[in-house]
């Protein structure tokens, strides 16, 4: 019951945060000096076309009216809006923004999820082993690696990996997309190309998608493992200094058992940092997607920003914000389940 109330209160906070971010981005992009109408109609348009386009995009109306139209407060007069679940139409392609986001988001999620799985599988054991002997050789090496990896430009490392793995060693495919240019994409079942290929009986396409994701995943996992190793090492060192570990050592438990006990208690703050990083990567995968031309949400955001496509920008920011906040909420719930002190103390 307490958990239920906690979740309800957090969901309310999330709703308020999403609303404030939506308002912030809506007014921010309209108050900046950019002119999306000029970008759309081109430099040879007549004043009538300019005025007509501006009216069609509702940019000539007062800001609050534009907000009301976007929210869908006048469904009969103007058309559906956010309250009816419509994110608007892209000013560049005229297709519904929600449809485009639905098309691009799964690719980003595949990239990020795979990268995080690889990063955690490598980084968490490294962090634990390093923390077991502080200031030892392994610890110093691991800490230097974490400092190094956290300071790297991910887009540059993507290019370096392309040079070595594609050009020099011919191990990876050309960075031309999440599938080879001549391959037909699998029919949409879940939206995730990897799963769809498996579900529709084309495992070869699934393998090809994995092959194309190989380098982007390596690049992202390398960058993301830096902070993860650092946090795991810090948390395990802190947990190792507690009294119950001292007692376990005094009882003569083996190093392996001690490590297992410590990990269970260092798990919660580690999970928090992984969740924060995962949420951050929803918007932070832009560079890797751009380098490898994966066609994910980040590239869509980039294209919308450069084209001054306001509904698309709003839609992407809304999606990323809701996604990140829901992930933080899920992690907090897991944290409460793992550590009952959190819920009971409220």
């Amino acid at each position: 019951m307490q958990l239920f109330v906690y979740i309800l209160r957090r969901l309310l906070t999330v709703a308020v945060q999403v609303a404030s971010i939506l308002l912030a981005i809506f007014f921010l992009i309209r108050m900046l000096p950019a002119d999306p109408v000029a970008r759309l109609v081109g430099s040879f348009a007549t004043p009538e076309i300019y005025a007509h386009t501006k009216a069609a995009l509702h940019l000539d109306k007062p800001l609050l009216t534009q907000l009301a139209i976007y929210l869908g407060l006048f469904p009969r007069a103007v058309g559906p809006g956010l309250l009816q679940g419509d994110l608007g139409r892209s000013w560049v392609t005229s297709s519904p923004v929600s449809q485009e986001i639905w098309q691009f988001l799964p690719i980003t999620l595949e990239l990020i999820t795979l990268s995080f799985v690889v990063a955690c599988v490598l980084a968490i054991p490294m962090g634990i082993l390093a923390a077991l002997k502080p200031n030892g050789l392994l610890d110093r090496g691991v800490f230097s690696f974490s400092l190094f990896a956290g300071a790297q430009p991910d887009f540059w490392w993507g290019l370096i990996f392309i040079y070595f793995f594609y050009f020099v060693w011919r191990l990876a495919p050309a960075p031309l997309g999440h599938l080879a240019p001549l391959t037909v994409a699998p029919p949409v079942v879940t939206g995730f190309p990897l799963l769809d290929a498996l579900l529709t009986g084309r495992p070869d396409v699934s393998l090809e998608a994995l092959h194309h994701l190989m380098l982007p995943v390596v690049t992202m996992a390398f960058i993301v493992s830096g902070p993860i190793v650092k946090m795991v090492r810090q948390n395990v060192i802190r947990a190792l200094q507690s009294n119950y570990i001292l007692y376990a050592r005094a009882c003569g438990l083996s190093q392996f058992h001690i490590a297992a006990y410590t990990f269970r208690n260092a798990f919660a703050p580690t999970l928090t940092i992984i969740a924060v990083l995962y949420g951050y990567m929803w918007g932070g995968a832009v560079l890797v997607e751009q380098v490898f031309s994966l066609g994910g949400l980040g590239q869509y955001a980039l294209r919308s920003i450069l084209a001054f496509d306001y509904p698309a920008i709003q839609g992407v920011v809304l999606t990323i914000t809701i996604g990140s906040l829901l992930i933080y909420l899920a992690m907090d719930i897991l944290h409460s389940v793992a550590d009952p002190r959190i819920v009971n103390s409220r």
Partner: protein, 297 residues
């Protein structure tokens, strides 16, 4: 008298422990030096093409004789140490001229956000009314935005020049310092010296600025080098995707972007050297930040 083995080994041990900080300081000072003198000491003009096609850098075995000859002044034209890119621009000149843009943007943005963020954090932590609550919530909202996308939006929509990039990055980093300072101020304002200052008749504002603020700056100052590194990465990132500084300004991100297409054809040198520069510089600032954290954190 010869020094005893103990003192020599202690010196070596301390030097070994201080090496990362030393390296970081060297890199930091080099980046500042290049930011000031880079375009002046560059052998070629960073924005004027000097060769017809992309030339690779000199081979390793030719390197030593070339260095000797250039020191003796026997070369007609300066050597293209890092080669030239597809547009014929000398890469070495552009790499050492770029800190004037990258490092300057990072330092200015960090300085602005540090100054504004600590002052705002002081106010938010020292006075507790609805206005400071609203300020803290607004700062949380800014921090919940996807950082990179917001940076792109702000720069692309306000105009892609250096000033706007500085202001954008400063605004995006203010919440970090606001939160750090506010947390420190909240714990400092209950201390006895604040009560003593109040008892001697100081105004609240004077107490806040003269007594509480200097004691709350430590976490922010430790965070500063890390923010500088993050700002360099952000600047290079948004310039790489085309939403940052305009070409042909020498800037590490743009240099990597303009040569990204030719790397799959085997021309590695226009992309590798700018990236190495970014990597080393940010690492240097991270080392300094780490040393500060170990000493004062």
């Amino acid at each position: 008298m010869p020094p005893s083995a103990t003192s020599v080994s202690r010196i070596i041990h301390r030097a070994w422990r201080g090496t990362p900080l030393g390296l970081g300081i060297v890199i930091m000072c080099s980046s500042l030096g290049l930011a000031v003198f880079g375009p002046v000491i560059a052998p070629y003009d960073p924005q004027i093409p000097v060769s017809a096609a992309a030339e690779p850098p000199p081979r390793l075995r030719d390197l030593a004789p070339l260095i000797l000859k250039s020191l003796q002044g026997r070369l007609a034209n300066p050597v293209h140490w890092f080669g030239t890119d597809d547009s014929g621009l000398d890469i070495f000149s552009r790499v050492i001229a770029a800190p004037r843009v990258d490092v300057l943007i990072a330092l200015a943005a960090t300085g602005l956000s540090l100054g504004a963020g600590t002052l705002l954090g002081l106010i938010a932590g020292y006075y507790s009314n609805w206005m400071t609550e609203a300020l803290t919530r607004a700062s949380d909202v800014i921090q919940s935005f996807p950082l990179f996308i917001l940076a792109m939006v702000l720069v692309a929509l306000t105009g892609r020049n250096v000033g706007n990039i500085i202001v954008t990055l400063a605004v995006l980093f203010i919440p970090v310092y606001l939160r750090l300072t506010r947390a420190q101020v909240l714990s400092e304002r209950t201390r006895n010296y604040v009560e003593a200052a109040r008892a001697t008749g100081n105004r609240e504002l004077v107490i806040a600025l003269r007594h509480v603020l200097p004691n709350s700056l430590a976490p922010s100052l430790i965070q500063a080098p890390i923010t500088i590194g993050a700002a360099i990465l952000q600047t290079a990132g948004i310039s790489f995707v085309g939403a940052g500084v305009r070409p042909p300004t020498p800037e590490w991100g743009i240099m990597i972007a303009s040569s990204a297409n030719s790397i799959i054809l085997g021309e590695w040198w226009p992309s590798v050297f700018p990236g190495l520069a970014i990597s080393l510089t940010v690492l240097g600032y991270a080392l300094v930040g780490n040393a500060l954290e170990n000493r004062y954190g």
